[in-house]
């Protein structure tokens, strides 16, 4: 199987209080053409840092790639110089961010923001670019697209702005789209609409996509494969079926149990105890052990590799679950 993007042993450190702490640890991922990979995890699991690393968008002086490579089209984006990154940004890889309210420049017109990359790269003339922007806005189902082009972000609702972001990210027909929590900041009804737009575009264009989310509910619908991250590490990875029907890692199971779909009607929803460890907390062995119901002193305190359970299904646990998780169908 050929790959479009390959992340090998990526480690990212962040600066806090004058100390450099590991926030992403030896993450390896790959995305095939046309494939949707979901990275799932709580806040602080390192999933956004991983995504930002791909386009070299980590905040200078705050976070940096300390190790590893990110191979795209023969370039190692982890060590690439700015002009190499700029060659891929927007044109080969587009990105959507979490906060539609603040991700658009407040003083520039929507249309100008959408076409800026194309115009700077001299892909097309301004008139042609405007035509494409109009088509792109229509594609993401923005109402009254002609008028929107000359409006400013503050004149649009959150859902509209996120659609604009999608149009912006896809205007130059990139092969890979990175969507960093694209719907987290939106109302539930708007969430569904925006996801629908994303899914539709992804399928129609055969787009590869990295979907970052903490919401397992939206993953089932869109993703082909899932990587579950916890405290900077990938703890389980596999196909959507692997992860959602036969999860093996206690953390994945914990996450799934919190979903209404997996708890019997009339019963309280399960809540996972504890919280993600602090970055500066020293942990030997399994990073999930303090919250793990299956923790066993000794074996769990030694470093645990990702273990192959089946082709394509890996789990960072020496005591993985065996049984299937029963999905409850609510009437």
């Amino acid at each position: 199987m050929d790959t479009l993007l390959e992340i090998n042993n990526l480690s990212v450190t962040v600066m806090t209080g004058g100390r450099e702490l590991a926030a992403v640890r030896n993450v390896s991922l790959d995305v095939a053409p046309g494939e949707v990979l979901a990275i799932v995890g709580e806040s602080g699991s390192g999933k956004s840092l991983t995504a930002l690393s791909v386009l070299g968008l980590l905040s200078k002086g705050v976070a940096r790639i300390s190790e590893g490579e990110i191979i795209f089209d023969g370039d190692d984006l982890a060590k690439a110089r700015p002009h190499v990154l700029d060659r891929h940004r927007g044109r080969d890889i587009g990105m959507i961010f979490q906060e539609p309210l603040s991700a658009l420049n407040p003083v520039l017109k929507i249309g100008d923001q959408i076409i800026e990359g194309m115009v700077v790269r001299n892909e097309v003339s301004r008139t042609e670019a405007r035509k494409r922007a109009l088509a792109a806005l229509t594609d993401v189902r923005v109402s009254d697209p002609e008028r929107r082009l000359d409006q400013y972000p503050h004149e649009l609702s959150g859902g509209m702005r996120q659609r604009v972001m999608i149009a912006l990210a896809l205007i130059s027909s990139p092969r890979l789209l990175i969507a960093d929590e694209p719907t987290t900041a939106l109302d539930v009804t708007i969430q569904a609409q925006v996801l629908e737009v994303l899914k539709d575009l992804q399928r129609r264009r055969g787009l590869s996509m990295i979907l970052i989310t903490h919401d397992l509910g939206i993953v089932a619908d869109m993703a082909d494969r899932i990587a579950v991250m916890y405290a900077g590490e990938i703890v389980e990875t596999g196909t959507v079926d692997d992860i959602l029907s036969a999860p093996k890692h206690p953390y994945t199971i914990g996450l799934l149990s919190c979903l209404p779909e997996f708890s019997p009607p009339g019963r309280r929803l399960v809540v996972m105890q504890g919280s993600i460890p602090a970055l500066d907390e020293r942990i030997d062995g399994c990073r999930f052990k303090s919250r793990c119901p299956r923790y066993q002193p000794g074996p769990c305190d030694a470093p645990i590799p990702l273990i192959d359970l089946a082709p394509g299904h890996q789990c960072r646990c020496i005591r993985p679950f065996r049984s299937q998780l029963a999905k409850v169908h609510h009437a």
Partner: protein
């Protein structure tokens, strides 16, 4: 929409002007000098003085004097100089041109230079260039106008003999005019460059952390375009507002710079009028200087509206 906004700004400026008129009037009334004595000269008899006072109306109650003053202002009558009988309006119109020249030249030097230095400091933040620029900004802000002026006169004018240091050389579009304009304009610019550079740097660093800058960077448009087209474009909004706030210092500076460089402008006219107790002339010039302050701030509001779509429509 622009017309509405302009009308609104002018309307809210009227109380400011009224306050200035009142203040100018009160100050000149409180000064313990007798305009009649100035007019009549040394040899005046008490009878002559009394007659002049009653002609000027300065023997009336202060409230009545103010009322008469306001009525005359509304008729466009700003009075005549006590010293030489020239009409205040004529003197102001004669001197306002050179002052506007000086003001314009100052802004033309200070705004690009201040913003440019701010951008450079931001681009090399933490480095030697940044520190040098910020040190220069602090020195420039801390130096009083008269000191900068005298330093420039001494070094550039006297020791290097490079530029003229006294008076106006002609209209702004002539070589002589420009040569005479450089030093006073440079002196005044120092009032603005430091604050503008610092504000540009501060707000650029703040904007640089915004999410939309990351979006801009994700488009692959190059770091320079991100910095100028997105970061600076937003950082200009507070900078322009700062220029409006600094307008007061600028006008104070104009008065001093014009005096040092013998620039035949409104500021020097005001100083001469105040020091010689020429009440009508002093009130008139103060009013016009205040008016220019108001005009500058209206312009700043309009430019802010152009820069920031969120600030449009009052």
């Amino acid at each position: 929409m622009l017309i509405n906004q302009l009308g609104y700004r002018i309307a809210v400026s009227l109380p400011v002007l009224l306050g200035v008129i009142l203040l100018g009037f009160v100050l000149m009334v409180m000064v313990p000098s007798d305009p009649a004595a100035i007019l009549a000269g040394e040899a005046a008899t008490p009878e002559i003085l009394a007659r002049i006072r009653s002609e000027l109306g300065v023997d009336r109650p202060v409230i009545e004097q103010f009322w008469r003053y306001m009525v005359r202002l509304l008729h466009g009558d700003f009075g005549r100089s006590l010293l030489n009988g020239v009409s205040v309006v004529d003197e102001v119109t004669r001197t306002v041109g050179p002052t506007l020249e000086l003001l314009l030249a100052t802004l033309v030097i200070a705004i690009p230079l201040g913003i440019g230095l701010g951008v450079l400091a931001t681009a090399w933040r933490g480095g030697a260039i940044d520190r040098a620029i910020m040190a220069f900004a602090v020195v420039g802000m801390s130096m009083p106008v008269f000191m900068t002026g005298l330093l420039l006169i001494n070094i550039v004018g006297v020791q290097l003999g490079a530029l003229p240091v006294q008076g106006r050389g002609g209209p702004i579009y002539t070589v002589q005019g420009l040569r005479h304009l450089i030093l006073p304009a440079l002196t005044l610019s120092m009032v603005l460059i430091g604050p503008i550079a610092r504000m540009t740097r501060t707000s650029m660093l703040e904007v640089a952390n915004k999410d939309f800058v990351r979006t801009a960077r994700s488009k692959g448009i190059g770091e320079r375009r991100v910095l100028v087209g997105h970061v600076l474009r937003n950082a200009l909004i507070p900078t322009v507002n700062l220029i409006g706030l600094q307008a007061g210092y600028l006008l104070g500076g104009i008065v001093i710079a014009e005096t040092i460089f013998a620039w035949p402008g409104l500021g020097r006219l005001a100083v001469t009028a105040i020091t010689s107790n020429d009440t009508p002339m002093a009130q008139g010039t103060i009013l016009f200087l205040a008016l220019s302050f108001v005009v500058i701030n209206i312009l700043v509001d309009l430019i802010t509206g152009l820069l920031d779509p969120r600030a449009r429509g009052v």
